[in-house]
Amino acid sequence: MAGHPGVRGLVIKEGLLWERSRKGRIGVSLPEQDVPRAELADELVGEKPALPELSEVDVIRHYTRLSTWNFGVDTGTYPLGSCTMKYNPKINEHLAGLPGFANLHPMTPESHAQGALKLMYELERDLLEITKLHAVSLQPAAGAQGELTGMLMIHAYHAHKGRQRGKVIMPSTAHGTNPASAALCGYAPVPVRISPDGIITPEAIREVMDEDTAGIMITNPNTLGIFESNIAEITKIIHEKGGLVYGDGANLNALMGYADIEKMGIDVLHVNVHKTLSTPHGGGGPGAGPVVVRDILEPFLPIPRIVKEGDRYKLVSDAPLSIGRLHSFYGNFATLARALAYTRTLGKRLKDVTELAVLNANYVKARLKGVYNLPFPQPSMHECVFNDAIQHKGGVTTLDIAKRLIDLGYHPPTVYFPLVVDGALMIEPTESESKADLDGFVEAMIAIAEEAVTDPGAVKDAPRNTRVSRPDEVRAARHLILRGEIPG
């Protein structure tokens, strides 16, 4: 399989951090001891902390070696469905780290934090312009906390109306975090069937929506990458029964410049800035999950809120119906700064981002159709879902296909999700991939499909080019080792 980017390279071994530890080493420059020593009472002082002893060079070698065992967006194509692994612009990193932001204490008097407050206010304006909703809070620290915020607001809304409800409608095409977020508010999930077209129908919603149902959590486009074209009618049914609509904004990359979230009838939507708005995932965060709401939910938004009076910005906490605070301070400011750098770089061209993300997904889908099984052939938006039905007959599974892709130099798609598709391969290329890179990915997928017939053992044996291959997850869970031992 020459021609694919995956080749063998020099992989350097590296032990655990503390295996380098030697008594007497130190990796930090200590400030000059220029004030008298002040001893705390002995009964308050602990043993020296259980940390390794390393030089600065040890630390540099260790983490540099570790980094080379990772695959990032900067390394190559990363079509991880539902995660929107787009390019993370470097100027955003630089601007978010400007000393005037980095060194700004969160309790700095407002008179001296006007620039930071302005930045947050400006991002709020941009999120409202992109979604066409009415008000926003930047506080939630990630998508799941944004979901929780949205559901807490829906809960508070019903409480304020004087009658709490007990259930929330949860389509099987909703994101994985949705049921857990609803459960934190005490709502029981009510499943709703999807049509053979992969979308929810108004009839199905009418069957389950009642006056004990707080609303619906809906992802649009859904996790099959299909636009819920009945959205206006569905949300109307929910509203007629006094319910509210929570929109999962994880797939906003498919909608910018095209859809009007308010017209869709969504009352609260969270935005994953670490997906749609290009902030880096960092191997698992930090992200940010601002929530954008329709006017009826504004009184319930988290506090404090940022307001502009004349040309001054201030934080305001006077909101009796607010659900309260979600974050130690005001949100993940440095992440939000990156998001603003992105919206201000792209501006109205965010529509081009959406168009190319959708074009890329449809191109991959067109080229792989027939090679891999496509359970839902309906029009796709920014991602498409195949499965292993064709390859499975020869014993090759989705997991094997994913692992073989690694050998060929590609990050695998999301696998075994969404749950409505057996053996799902969920591909979201994002707009960042060029046609040439997509062609390479498609050719790798085709080569694996051929290999699944001619040499299935080779696929099942993958990956072979990586430092480790198929770590034993069952063993990890049965014989739990969650920490090492740092030598004293």
Partner: protein, 446 residues
């Protein structure tokens, strides 16, 4: 547009492959009724204009931050060795997702395993998770964890927890029937554990507490355990554990807190990194990611995400939490910081925090401030200011000094007991030169 590679020819070929005539046609499943009727009204900017806009917000006419700050209260000024942001900015760490594919995520996975190890060691606990969003949400999740374990719908919470953390806890508990009983402060600035009711799942104590006093966690543990409850502790200043007896050694069952002091800048309050650790008996109820050690098919040591059966994507509504993305990259930074400072360095830096805080406190006493309490503190303490200090505080700000935080900035401390009280903090970053200069200017603006 420099982030987009498609040429008109590429687009034409791709549309042909898809079998549509235009890009717009790909959006035909969006009905007219839910389409926006205008362009996105945001002007695109060049890199150079964008930089000017941001530089202005970060420090130009709109001014950011005083030069010297004695503010702590959950976000502390510490020295950051240059190699830490350098290493952490390696794109293989920064631009990767949650490590779902272990073969190409061993760097992140091993770094998190090492973070778990060092965090657990620092706090004296058996296990720690891969991180939470921040100290406040970590505390809220720790309390939910205690309620799941003990199954009593009530918790006793010290009022001397950070007020924002208590607010977040209340937000998380809002839709539940769980009850929070608040424990008052004693005259010595520590919590009155004696008032803990009998039927609680947990006693929740921050140490050093919001007013800077070091709590007697051993006695808190005794109280909690005598009532069949868990001791949940919180912290806002991770640096304290370089010097103080750790919470695990004093009997804490669950420890939550903020790790931002380890190499992560203020950034106007976020992102930080939530730390969460517990006894190993509670491993199946701890929220968040856990990395475990295993071997691969060739017997090589490898790391994977483990115990996913607790998590939202498997257990859905029965999951222990909805958390998914956490604060992974900041956990990496904290791990690099902990390994850089190490056993000896962290002790020395922590000691210097205490030294400088004592030096600041002595200087303030000479300037007419009175300590609110005589309990021991780490690097933060509360003082009652001499009459008329509020105006001088403003004058000092104009001279580039944020001379402490007035306690009534936090509505919870808008109380006659705390009239004219300020919270001060000094760390290893405050040199004697800066402290002496502050004392001199304090006299000038009298």
């Amino acid at each position: 547009m420099r982030y987009l590679s498609h040429t008109p020819d590429d687009i034409k070929e791709m549309l042909e492959a898809v079998g549509v005539k235009s890009v717009e046609e790909l959006f035909s499943s969006i009905p007219a009724g839910v389409r926006r009727d205008s362009e996105i009204d945001i002007e695109p900017r060049s890199e150079w204009r964008l930089s000017r806009d941001f530089e202005e917000m970060a420090g130009g006419l709109t001014a950011a931050g005083p030069a010297v700050s004695f503010a702590g209260a959950g976000s502390y000024s510490h020295c950051v060795p240059a190699h830490i942001p350098y290493l952490a900015s390696r794109s293989e760490f920064l631009t990767s997702y949650t490590p779902y594919q272990p073969e190409i995520s061993q760097g992140t996975l091993q770094a998190i395993f090492e973070f778990q190890t060092m965090t657990a060691g620092l706090l004296g606990m058996e296990i720690a998770n891969a991180s939470m969003y921040d100290g406040a949400s970590s505390l809220a999740e720790a309390v939910l964890m205690a309620i799941r374990t003990k199954k009593k719908p009530k918790v006793a919470v010290s009022r001397l927890n950070h007020p924002h953390y208590l607010q977040v806890l209340k937000t998380y508990l809002r839709p539940t029937a769980f009850e929070v009983v608040e424990l008052e402060a004693l005259p010595d600035g520590r919590t009155d554990y004696g008032a803990t009711p009998d039927d609680v799942s947990a006693l929740v104590v921050q140490s050093p507490n919001f007013l800077g006093c070091i709590e007697d966690l051993a006695s808190a543990a005794e109280t909690a355990h005598s009532k069949g409850a868990l001791l949940v502790t919180s912290f806002t200043e991770a640096m304290a554990w370089g010097l103080l007896k750790n919470p695990g050694g004093q009997g804490a069952d669950i420890v939550s807190g903020e790790g931002k002091s380890f190499g992560i800048p203020h950034s106007f309050g976020g992102p930080g990194v939530g730390m969460l650790a517990c006894k190993k008996d509670f491993v199946r109820t701890i929220p968040g990611r856990l990395v475990g050690e295993t071997i691969d098919k060739n017997g090589e040591r490898s790391f994977v995400l483990t115990l996913a059966a607790r998590e939202q994507h498997i257990r859905r509504e029965k999951a222990v939490s909805n958390i998914c993305t956490n604060s992974g990259h900041n956990a990496l930074i904290a791990a690099i910081y902990m390994s850089t400072a190490g056993k000896e360095g962290l002790r020395e830096i922590a000691q210097q925090n205490h030294d400088r805080a004592v030096y600041l406190k002595n200087g303030l006493e000479e300037a007419g401030f009175r300590p609110l309490f005589d309990s021991p503190f780490f690097n933060e303490f509360a003082m009652t200011a001499p009459a008329g200090f509020e105006k001088r505080h403003e004058a000092l700000l104009a001279r580039g000094f944020l001379a402490g935080l007035k306690l009534d900035l936090f509505p919870e401390y808008n109380d006659p007991r705390y009239k004219d009280a300020y919270l001060f903090c000094a760390t290893e970053a405050h040199t004697r030169g800066v402290l002496d200069e502050f004392f001199a200017i304090l006299k000038e603006v009298a």
